[in-house]
């Protein structure tokens, strides 16, 4: 799959790139994207797709997979080419690389899963302008070696999918009374349609941020109490 000579790029001692992330074990690069530096819940990036298509769990899975695919391959490509790309035109180059992989993902989805492709509609090509991917390219992949970029891309991709799935689960379970299409509450449950409509998206996201904030404060208070 990866014909790019990873070793030859890695053998030379890394010159210190200004603004490069400090060296860390690969597992940390991966884990950071899921928990401490989650793209949606902590960095607040990629909010548009997180709210727009999160009314069904199946949509969330499809969108998460497509974003993960684009993120992994574009990070790998950008990180491998980081010494070739001139600094002045790096953003344009990043966008073109990302766009290529988005087109591939879009065509694959249209061919193998036309139903999902129709439901997600323009939100698959819109992955191009998802801030997470360009943000990772600019802040991470363009400055470190391919292995670290891959670990980071997988972490951020899974972190995004996780946030998406949490949103989808809340909205589908409350809004339609189903999970992945299975009815959960029997015939007498009246679906709260509000949650699968646009305002429900904003509300679930807001409640999620409030919960995260409350949780963070509580953790901080506990730490302060322990140190006393």
């Amino acid at each position: 799959m990866t014909a790019i000579p990873v070793e030859t790029l890695e053998q030379a001692p890394e010159p210190i790139v200004p603004g490069a992330p400090p060296p860390q074990p690969l597992a940390m690069d991966f884990w950071r994207g899921i928990a401490d530096d989650n793209p949606v819940m902590i960095q607040m990036l990629g909010l548009c797709p997180t709210m727009a298509i999160s009314n069904q769990v199946s949509n969330g899975l499809g969108m998460g997979a497509a974003t993960l695919f684009v993120l992994v391959f574009s990070s790998l490509m950008i990180s491998s080419l980081r010494k070739v790309i001139p600094n002045e035109v790096r953003l344009a180059t990043y966008i073109l690389v990302i766009c290529t992989f988005v087109t591939i993902a879009d065509l694959i989805m249209q061919a193998y899963s036309p139903l999902l492709s129709r439901t997600l509609g323009p939100f698959v090509p819109l992955i191009v302008v998802n801030c997470i991917i360009l943000g990772r390219a600019e802040a991470f992949a363009g400055k470190v070696g391919p292995m670290r970029a891959l670990a980071d891309a997988f972490g951020q991709g899974f972190g995004f999918t996780l946030a998406l799935l949490i949103m989808c689960t809340i909205r589908e379970v409350i809004g339609s009374g189903t999970f992945l299409g299975f009815h959960l509450f029997g015939p007498h449950y009246e679906p709260q349609l509000f949650f699968i409509m646009p305002p429900g998206g904003f509300l679930s996201m807001g409640l999620m941020f409030l919960t995260m904030g409350w949780w963070g404060e509580r953790k901080k208070a506990k730490l302060a109490g322990a140190s006393k």
Partner: protein, 192 residues
């Protein structure tokens, strides 16, 4: 003809508002809406770019992309990026004050999903040039409306006594939810 155009305009402006119903351009919606002035100015800049994009996309679809539809996304993003660059240079030259105020959010219009969304839907719905321009104006004014409303609410919020926990994004999202709910009321216009 007129009925069709006004339907496109009003449905994009109110019923399918880009920000509040379609979740597009949320980065700038949450990022710049702390001051009313910047809010509506960014809206105006967005509207301008949207209209230029609508024209460019029509040209691309009619003359260039007929033989290679799979290059659509790439062609659109390149054209949008160059357009934003041109607008940025023009604003820097002729309106330096506005240029300083918009700052980072001006180049960020490139990655505003509303612009690419407009390009893609204009293509799938097969709008002609006039319809495309009306669609862009409706969408742009809708964005401006949402940005201005949100900014004015947040200006008031600054002096309100809210719990420290809600001072950040949480409360803003819940306000957005209420605004979105209010805009859902316009959906009745479609059936009437």
């Amino acid at each position: 003809m007129i009925a069709n155009l006004s339907w496109i305009f009003f449905s994009t402006l109110l019923i399918n508002n880009f920000t509040l119903a379609m979740f597009l351009g949320l980065c700038s919606f949450f990022g710049v809406t702390t001051k009313m002035d910047t809010g509506w100015r960014l809206g105006a800049a967005n509207t301008f770019v949207l209209v230029m994009t609508a024209v460019a996309v029509w040209v691309l679809n009619t003359f260039v992309l007929t033989t290679a539809p799979y290059l659509r996304t790439i062609a659109f993003i390149v054209v949008i990026a160059s357009l934003v660059q041109i607008v940025e240079m023009a604003i820097k030259k002729f309106l330096p004050v506005l240029f300083r105020e918009l700052g980072i959010y001006l180049p960020l219009i490139t990655t505003n999903c509303a612009i690419l969304y407009l390009a893609l839907t204009q293509t799938t719905r097969g709008y002609n040039l006039i319809e495309g321009i009306f669609y862009a104006i409706g969408g742009g004014l809708g964005l401006t409306l949402a940005l201005t409303l949100m900014a004015s609410i947040r200006e008031r919020l600054d002096v309100a006594d809210v719990p420290a926990l809600a001072k950040r994004m949480g409360l803003v999202l819940i306000i957005a939810s209420c605004m979105s709910m209010a805009f859902m009321g316009f959906a009745g216009m479609g059936s009437g």
